[in-house]
């Protein structure tokens, strides 16, 4: 089944929840509303004609500074300066966040990319952990780096970063930390060594 046909099938079934279809890119994308993700995922897996039995990848995107198509100019982001200090960019983000699911069917050998945008202020989305078990870790990772909350995930904790870490590092308005507990994170050492 081609992506176009999958899109039409989904639209016939879910109607308003399916927001759009982008086909002029190498991997066509179907987008939908965050509330409907759980139902759509279940349908995608269980419908015999679709049977997407594998979640290849679950990832987060920050659309801050980008337009609807994901294009736009480079946004100035926070960083450490050459002398080791933190350079803050006083520009809190307003763009949406998104979760992208890449799906594959072993049975029919077709693929689908499902994209779901969530507002930056309330990044909440239904979990698909009960549909594909692998999603539980992908969701934890996305929560770890983007702060997107997956409602229904049984164990939504940070995955890679320490549990007491502050902030969501892969958001473009992330504030660079100066210290983490007793560990200095700015490039102070280099500055000191240069002076000597």
């Amino acid at each position: 089944m081609t992506e176009q046909e999958i899109y039409q099938r989904l639209q016939a079934r879910f109607d308003d929840s399916i927001l759009g279809f982008e086909s002029d890119i190498p991997q066509p994308v179907v987008s939908c509303t965050p509330e409907a993700v759980g139902d759509i995922a279940k349908y995608l897996r269980d419908d015999p004609a679709l049977s997407f039995d594998r979640l290849l990848c679950l990832s987060g995107v920050d659309y801050e500074g980008l337009d609807e198509k994901g294009k736009g100019k480079h946004r100035e982001i926070n960083r450490y300066e050459e002398d080791g200090t933190v350079n803050p960019v006083e520009d809190p983000g307003t763009g949406d966040l998104a979760v992208v699911y890449h799906l594959e069917s072993f049975k029919h050998h077709h693929r689908l990319c499902l994209s779901v945008r969530v507002p930056r202020e309330t990044p909440k989305i239904a979990s698909v952990g009960h549909v594909w078990i692998t999603a539980q870790y992908g969701e934890r990772e996305t929560y770890d780096f983007f702060g997107i909350e997956f409602e229904g995930n049984p164990d939504l904790r940070r995955l890679f970063l320490p549990e007491d870490w502050v902030g969501w590092p892969l958001r473009k308005d992330y504030e660079m930390p100066v210290r983490y507990n007793d560990v200095p994170l700015e490039g102070l050492g280099l500055a000191v060594r240069d002076e000597q």
């Binding site: 050459e82 970063l161 930390p177 983490y180 007793d182 200095p184 994170l185 050492g189 280099l190």
Partner: protein, 210 residues
């Protein structure tokens, strides 16, 4: 102590006596330490006089035990250096220990993340004295490729533990690590390293825009 006299390879024979087999002699051969004469003075065929400190240092530098400890991509080069092709054991540093309690040397090979930095500190504290640290690769030296946007990377392991030898590269080839090891041996021996900074290094550094 009298003026050390110039001695040749036969000194090793004097030290270990003639009952010990040839390969054992090779291991204790002072030739790896350039010259026994600088450490000790042979008085007769079977007696040498040396300062205990010098002999201990010689023993320490000839049997550095590194801790089995790799953090990132650089660790692959460290494994390679310990493998058969480069064979770090030739310099007495091949006995990788699985516990900090038995190790002298910590080779920090890779990216020091904020999460790992506290563990590195603890492992260093657990190592018995005397102990040394080699910072291997740009990451351990100063953050490396993660300097500008690496929110999670400590910009140099010397912010957590004192470092004896810096081994630059991304990753450093095993030869460079071996060279760093030999510079560490020089340091334990109480000598300056053989490597001097060529003049062009400073000139080059000045051309880098800030």
């Amino acid at each position: 102590m009298s003026e050390p006299k110039q001695t040749g390879p036969e000194v090793a024979f004097n030290v270990v006596g003639d009952q010990i087999a040839d390969d054992r002699e090779q291991m204790l051969d002072f030739r790896i330490d350039e010259d026994l004469a600088k450490v000790a003075t042979p008085r007769s065929d079977h007696v040498i006089v040396a300062r205990v400190e010098d002999l201990f240092r010689w023993a320490q530098l000839s049997s550095i035990w590194p801790m089995t400890f790799g953090l990132a991509c650089c660790a692959i080069e460290m494994m390679s250096a310990a493998g058969t092709r480069y064979d770090m054991d030739r310099f007495g540093a091949g006995a990788m220990r699985g516990t900090p309690r038995q190790a002298d040397l910590m080779i920090v090979s890779g990216t020091v993340t904020a999460k790992m930095a506290t563990r590195i500190k603890r492992l260093y504290d657990q190592m018995p004295d005397p102990k040394w640290v080699i910072a291997m690769g740009s990451c351990a030296i100063g953050g490396g490729p993660y300097f500008k946007y690496g929110y999670h990377v400590v910009k140099g392991v010397d912010m957590m533990v004192p470092v004896d030898v810096y081994v630059p590269g991304c990753p450093p080839r095993p030869e460079v690590l071996l060279d760093g090891l030999m510079r560490l041996q020089d340091k334990i021996r109480g000598k300056r390293g053989k490597w001097r900074k060529p003049k062009w290094v400073d000139e080059y550094i000045n051309t880098i825009p800030r």
